[in-house]
Subunit: 371 residues, 4 copies
């Protein structure tokens, strides 16, 4: 049987990441058909051809609708800027393709709703790119929680921090405009939300404060321009099952590069994780001797599946791009109708609903319930 | 000139800590008079005498009012349980003594107000025991912020976590009763609040969520008893100068032993601190080469005054009890009318006002402003 | 122009790692021709075919000599057990192929010498698989040292520790037999040696002690069998330029999983590195303020080339397998006659000469000079 | 019963540290008599009097022999520069006093031998100041090893590094002169040796390399002066019971401030320790689940005696000076004829013998056995 036919729209960083995954998934996992890299679309024909050559795709086009119409294409990777996701994903679904769309679904909630509706109507797999949940460390944390290793979880803290907006002298660019969204909240708080969703399910109520470290920034055209959204957001949350959570996201946090830190407290222990050291986690289990009690730093190991598909020895480390290969394998599982781990449009929409509720809670200065 | 005459009421852990400080302050700092350890009070005469012998005090009594009346006593250390602070501190102030009272001032805000009123009326030094702010590391962080080393601070996170209430099988005891207060909030959130106060000044507005990990606990008399307060509290705060802060306190956080973690983000850098490693901090400064940018872990050193009064070499480490010796030196400075670093009843009251506002914000589910 | 034709012999872990690299190198780097995966050899035809399908190779064989004779093959990846390296590499070189051979060259020094001789006679690229030196972090450390960022290096410590032999109840298997070599010394001390070579050049004199933690191990056939080599080795070294070094290698070090730790001390600063956290290093530079002096933890970033070919944002992390892709790019550079970074048979032989000198220094209990 | 009468000779840092200990030991431990601070000696009368006032001693003298003759003095703390130790300690012992002498005993081995002979002849307690072994963390590590928690120890690495000689522009001063000794080896390698002795007993054979990072240094009188000893030493060691050890000491290691790092590997686990974080250690125990295996970071706690005499809550941290108070308690135990933990002149001499053997092994470039 031939492997899935792949179409890729967009060849920025995430496009390259998808391409690497489609190239590697068979070699890493063995137990899938080798995908056929059929068609690649970019903004202009020259770039499309050059990227197709680099990424190993057979055909190149500047017309993404042509890619979607290509009968050889079974799955469409959508890795374009956020504002194009809805149109492309819906068109692909309507053409009967499976879709692998980078997060978030769409800037506007209504568009995201239309994406889900299209997925339901098409009966195709509509899969989000949320690769952090695919880290074998995160998967194992999920297993530990499921097994009750730390008892009943009652409190969680999630932090996501980077510093690409930390410099007040960075000129105003589109990320600071209202049209780009709320700021840190939708720019990247969706990542820790995907982790919270994966580990604990959805949020039920939120109250938010936001941080605008710099009122204005140098305008490229001279003078200064008022910053229109917030580089930081802090949220008190109530999750399913009465878990109290705090979410903190900040894209102006000097020194933080790719931090997604989790603190998970349960009745029998605790778990700590930080994405900047993505190949380890820390576990504390109650009940041991007081003289030897402490957090154990666990390095990724073959027993944390599917690390073993990449490396047979512990402590050697996966990279960020490897997580996309794992996600790719899960997508293939979903298409095959097998049990999978991943975020579909259904859950993706709920994550975005939560983000919008957080923003409302800030503007209305009150707790907002999410039904 | 003779040194200050010291009276000590209470000989639990903090009483011992005061005694160690009074014994050591002259040897450590040199530039003070050696305090005279005059009088010690405990609940019964036998214990008082035994402790007086251990701690080096000349007289022992079961009558703390007698201690306060002792003309040889110039300063009274109050280290008894919280509910006795007001009565003892007020009596001592009214007798013309200086007072060094362990935190918090009093469970009820009105009592704390009366303590401040007594201090004002007496014109004596009324000093709180908040020794974490005396850590040379914290003092240096304050200096760095003051010098603008990390620019204008815009966001702060403070966490205080221990695990003495983490075990659901710990029987109900007084700490879980409403009469003991709100729980984590007043039990120990005052510590990170003292740090926030020391570094940034007071809070202006707060909204709170609280965590009750266990609805009930085993009752000593059999059966189970409903837990009446909250082992965790999470607070969104606005500090002076528009700083956005998040305060998280949890006394049921498995694995945390003496954690007070600070994350301080400014326009030119960041500072991190964790009390469990109290002899170091981390500093990130913007503007360096991208290939060598990162957090620098700085170990305490003689240049972080007054570490040099204890040890002349860097990286050797002070202990928790040493901070009380530094605080003692500051108290002596205050009594001598010299500039000092410390929390008087004035600021102590404001910290407790903030705690009460946080509790109200939780119960009323709304932002509360603090005037 | 067509890309290089690739032959792969051996499909264990390192074979898979080579396959992943050959599959990805074009997508990651863009600026190379896409390699043609021509021919794969394994011990039997069935396995060869199944692996060829997984790894994306066109032809499969149980006859590695047939692969070497294949005119479509330009480069042969040799990833078989160590005892086969010499025969295969020499045959490939004699057939005019370039060779990419996993470390070490061969168990016996004479065989390794023959491999180098064959490479010289053939005039082909003979490249070793020593991927740790390709880590952008290690490359940047090399740059820093070269630029004098830490002044003149005078002292280095290198540790390599794992725990796969730490359990005394692990039955005797081939790794403990004399036929497998000296033990830790040649089993994996070559890794830190490759780093020392890359950063500082070759060793000039050594004295060694070895550790045999367990005199015997359970024999599979019952009873116990005497362990014939050493699971640990400690070496005092003199490197080029008068650098004093200590090398410690231990494969029975409980808790160590993939540790390769470097401490590099110079006249103006220090650098620390640990392979278990391969996406970061620590740098101390003399001359700053005493109150802010400390080790800076630097996370990998795009400015550490070629990290940027994988990920455009800092702090996201490469994995072990990514290093092989970088090594593959260097090999292609070498084949193209361009400047490259890597260990050829020339330097590989010197590394192995050093290992044998270390063993002699142990057995003769004296310093051994290496000419 | 009256407490011990104390005489203190020398009031530099270690003198102050002794004074703090004598002042605090009763308050901390309770179960001893309060020492009487009788007599203090310094180089001139003015300094002696000022220090006596600071440290709380009753009498002050510029004549240390007078102090030794004082019948009120029972114990003499000797904290003067190393070259005076022998004369003072011997005189004190001959006068029937107990002696508490800071490490090392004496620069010349023969002097140290005379000190031990004097102690034996006097029948008095002759106790060394080696306070690192008194850290509750170290004591607990000793307990763990004794209980077999990590099985039979087979390999140990000990590192001691500071950077006070790291700057090549530091002018030549007495520490670089041959008269000061071998350099790092006797300047501070005795500290890790005291730990090795405490945990594993004495060394049986050694081979050494030494590091002289800078051939000369600026002379105070102008020009440059040749450095006469070695700022670094690396030693391969065989300890009692066949343990293989590596000792590395370096006082020119930029960035290291008070590092004494131990790695202890046994048949069932490992222990790590670093003096720069003296309130914690790391423990790995074999036999657990592969998915949760790792080093556990244990913070000091009351259960690590005698931490509980200082602080009743875990994770709050002792300081360097607190270790001297513990040592003081052990000395009092020794004087009372009770079991104690500490290094007497007997073992101190053996440590110094080891140091001299290490130096010989370097100069003679061979393994040296220590009988």
């Amino acid at each position: 049987m031939a492997g899935l036919g792949i179409g890729l729209i967009g060849t920025g960083y995430m496009g390259k990441c998808h391409a690497l995954a489609w190239n590697a998934v068979k070699t890493v996992f063995g137990d899938v058909e080798r995908p056929r890299l059929v068609h690649l679309a970019e903004a202009d024909q020259g770039l499309a051809e050059s990227r197709a050559s680099e990424f190993g795709f057979a055909k190149a086009t500047a017309d993404w609708r042509g890619l979607i119409a290509d009968p050889e294409v079974d799955v469409v990777s959508v890795t374009t800027p956020n504002q194009f996701h809805a149109e492309m994903a819906i068109a692909a679904l309507e053409a009967g393709k499976h879709v692998w769309c980078e997060k978030p679904m769409a800037p506007a909630y209504e568009e995201a709703e239309r994406m889900l509706a299209a997925a339901r109507a098409a009966g195709r797999v509509a899969f989000m790119g949320y690769n952090y949940i695919q880290n074998p460390v995160i998967r194992h944390i999920k297993t530990l929680i499921g097994e009750g290793a730390i008892g009943k979880v009652n409190h969680v803290r999630a932090e996501m921090d980077e510093d690409f907006m930390a410099d007040p002298d960075v000129p105003f660019y589109w990320k600071s405009a209202l049209s780009a969204g709320y700021g840190a909240l939708d720019d990247f708080a969706v990542h820790p939300l995907s982790l919270l969703w994966s580990l604990f399910g959805h949020a039920e109520a939120v109250i938010t404060d936001m941080v605008k470290p710099y009122a204005d920034r140098p305008a490229k055209e001279g003078g200064r321009r008022t910053v229109e959204n917030h580089d930081g957001a802090n949220v008190l949350m109530r999750l399913q099952g009465g878990i109290s959570a705090v979410l903190m996201a900040n894209r102006a946090a000097w020194g933080r590069k790719g931090r997604i830190a989790l603190q998970i407290y349960g009745s029998k222990g605790s778990i700590l994780y930080d994405q900047e050291r993505m190949n380890e986690f820390q576990l504390y289990r109650a009940g041991g001797s007081l003289t030897e009690a402490g957090f154990t730093t666990v390095l990724t190991a073959p027993a944390h599946e599917p690390y073993n598909r990449f490396i047979p020895a512990p402590g050697h480390g996966l990279g960020f791009n490897d997580l996309k290969i794992i996600e790719c394998r899960e997508l293939i599982r979903a298409i095959a109708g097998e049990p999978f781990s991943g975020i579909t449009f259904e859950d993706g929409l709920r994550i975005e609903k939560t983000v919008h509720a957080m923003a409302r809670a800030f503007h209305e200065k009150r707790w907002v319930e999410i039904d």
